[in-house]
């Protein structure tokens, strides 16, 4: 893939911030689970959440290749922050693809004022099985009334606006799902349990509860009953973001492992001189590079409006599996030190795990990929 000067310039800006301001404190936030408010404020000021907001609504709307390049950069430093930005970008995609001009103005206005968006699909009994969504939206005059609880919601406690997938007809399963946007400050919206997670601990994950929450009828995005379709379209693009972020994480693990292997002396020489380590490093880099090319190829398909969905799933599947494998191997190269919290490796391994689970588990990705293959 060709990296243009413009791409590099934007990436370098984000990289310099993350390297100078985030790297030194990431371990502390990971350990105490506190929300890094200043970091988020700075990044929102910088506008990293506006990459998928159209320029006519004061956003940046850059091409997918540059977006993935930036996603890779963020993943290199912290996948929790990456997840927060990625989740917000997904919500923007739903609105951009299916919202009206009036809705976009309102929704994107909340983002340009310095807030993140959040995508609320998952429920306690509706993970991979979206047909089991129980949150309901009932039309009452000129308003919809929302009731239900969403869980594991990235940015749940910090977002300024939510995209909510709720059922307008429980009897129809996924065909009864509809998409809405709901402002955080609306009456009837509250934030429930804050999750204490294994990894991506610099992200905010909560329950979002709707109790007789009334929203104007015009907060319905697109048509009733199309919510599942919209959600799948949205995830179709956002999955590649996870793939790119995973590549960044894997590359960082490799870079750290190389540095360590060169300095760690056993049996009288650095362990990097041992073929056992060299072969591990070679495999790690080969797998990461393959995942990287897949992510950028999927981005290229998106940019040229070609059918990308299967590739986006492949990028997510491959990227996250590679990140898991590579971070595990990197811990192995660090040996006992890799297992200790004093070193950066164990956090990377914990962060990698979620990438195989969220935005559709890797099993669901295989369903999507094979579905595409067999429908031809």
């Amino acid at each position: 893939m060709k990296i243009t000067a413009e791409m590099k310039d934007l990436r370098d800006l984000v990289e310099s911030y993350l390297k100078n301001e985030v790297d030194p404190v990431v371990g502390t936030y990971d350990a105490n689970g506190e929300f890094p408010e200043k970091i988020y404020n700075d990044l929102l000021e910088m506008g990293v959440h506006l990459l998928a907001v159209p320029t006519e609504y004061d956003g940046l709307m850059i091409d997918h290749k540059t977006e993935m390049y930036i996603a890779e950069t963020i993943g290199r430093h912290d996948c929790g922050i990456g997840s927060a930005i990625g989740a917000s970008n997904s919500s923007c995609t739903t609105m951009e693809l299916f919202g009206t001009d009036e809705q976009k103005k309102e929704f994107f206005g909340i983002l340009t004022s310095g807030k993140l968006a959040s995508f609320c699909l998952t429920e306690p009994n509706a993970g991979s099985d979206s047909a089991s969504v129980k949150t309901q939206a009932k039309l009452d005059g000129d308003e919809y009334v929302l009731n239900g609880t969403k869980c594991f919601i990235t940015n749940g406690g910090i977002a300024g606006v939510y995209i909510v997938i709720a059922s307008t007809d429980l009897s129809k399963g996924t065909k009864g799902l509809s998409a809405f946007y709901v402002e955080r400050d609306r009456e009837g919206v509250s934030v429930g349990k804050h999750e204490d997670k294994m990894g991506i601990r610099l992200s905010n994950t909560t329950e979002v509860i709707f109790e007789d929450c009334r929203i104007p009828k015009n907060h319905l995005i697109g048509e009733e009953g199309k919510g599942f379709l919209y959600a799948m379209k949205t995830l179709g693009t956002s999955r590649n973001y996870v793939g790119a972020m995973a590549v960044g994480l894997a590359q960082r693990a490799i870079d750290e492992a190389i540095e360590y292997a060169k300095g760690r002396v056993q049996f009288g020489k650095p362990i990097s001189k041992k073929q056992g380590i060299q072969f591990m490093l070679a495999d790690m880099q080969t797998q990461t590079e393959a995942a990287r090319q897949l992510a950028y190829y999927a981005a290229e398909l998106m940019d040229s409006n070609e059918d990308y969905e299967a590739y986006s799933s492949m990028s997510k599947l491959m990227g996250s599996d590679v990140a898991m494998k590579v971070t595990t191997d990197a811990v192995q190269i660090f040996g006992g030190y890799g297992y200790m919290k004093e070193y950066p490796m164990e956090k990377m391994m914990r962060d990698a795990k979620i990438l195989q689970i969220y935005e559709g588990t890797n099993q669901i990705q295989r369903v999507i990929i094979s579905g595409k293959m067999l429908s031809k």
């Binding site: 413009e6 934007l10 990293v48 990459l51």
Partner: protein, 265 residues
């Protein structure tokens, strides 16, 4: 306030390597940055503008690639940027450089009106002379304050916080004036992605000896009062002696004995 900031593009010294054979700096592949003290000067200028209103203009003398540094300045709050680039400027020492910059400042003032403040970093991290700022003030016949870390404007009075060995002074200065800036608590801001995109699209006007009124005899090698005879990396000398006794006074005693024994004093 109409503020001008002079900046220089310098190699990122944190990445510099020395060629072990020739003992010279290896510039290839080393990233270029805006001289850090100039970034502090720009940050102070932009903060002042945000409070007082006005405009910040940035200039630089250097090769065409210095446009990148000027674009960086546009992305963090400067409104306008000009590059002065001409082969005739090559080899300029600080005297020639400050003459060229001051001629350019006069040229800009003819078109844009007087600058209230001309700001520079206290020195560039490559040459480390710290002379260009004060020399610009002399060429322009303006007051100067060096080692500034903050600027305040109160009821038409311009006050400069100047660092000294003991602490700092607040100095009132008549404008227009030249201020050289050192590292302060006001860390240079990060650009936003939006300002970065806009700055990348901006066209930087490049001026040369034909665009401004300038005496070529005072430029480049011809106009330089100093000549560089040789650049080299000092050889690391490990012959030093470390004196570290239990107490400071015991260390002083050892040092004195050593100096007397070796007939240094």
């Amino acid at each position: 306030m109409n503020i001008l900031v002079c900046i220089k593009q310098v190699p990122d010294t944190t990445e510099i390597k020395i060629n072990p054979v020739t003992n010279t700096l290896m510039r290839e592949g080393v990233a270029s940055i805006v001289n850090p003290f100039d970034s502090y000067a720009l940050e102070l200028a932009v903060r002042l503008k945000e409070k007082q209103g006005g405009k910040v203009t940035v200039i630089s003398m250097g090769p065409p690639q210095a446009k990148v540094a000027l674009k960086e300045c546009l992305s963090v709050g400067a409104e306008e940027a000009y590059l002065l680039s001409d082969r005739a400027f090559g080899g300029s020492d600080t005297l020639a450089t400050s003459y060229i910059l001051s001629s350019f400042i006069k040229h800009l003032e003819k078109e844009n009106g007087k600058f209230d403040l001309v700001m520079c970093g206290k020195q560039a991290i490559d040459g480390d002379t710290g002379q260009v700022g004060p020399e610009i003030a002399e060429h322009l016949g303006l007051a100067q304050v060096t080692y500034a870390t903050d600027i305040k404007v109160e009821d038409d009075k311009t006050l400069i916080k100047r660092e000294n060995d003991q602490g700092y002074d607040w100095i009132q200065v008549l404008t227009p004036a030249v201020i050289t800036v050192t590292k302060s608590v006001f860390e240079p801001r990060y650009a936003t992605l939006k300002s970065k995109i806009a700055a990348n699209k901006a066209e930087i006007e490049v001026l040369n000896t034909e665009s401004i009124d300038i005496d070529l005899e005072k430029c480049g090698l011809k106009g330089s009062a100093t000549k560089v005879m040789k650049s080299y990396t000092p050889i690391k000398d490990n012959n030093g002696i470390v004196i570290k006794e239990e107490t400071a006074s015991a260390s002083v005693k050892s040092l004195m004995n050593l100096l007397v024994d070796n007939k240094v004093i």
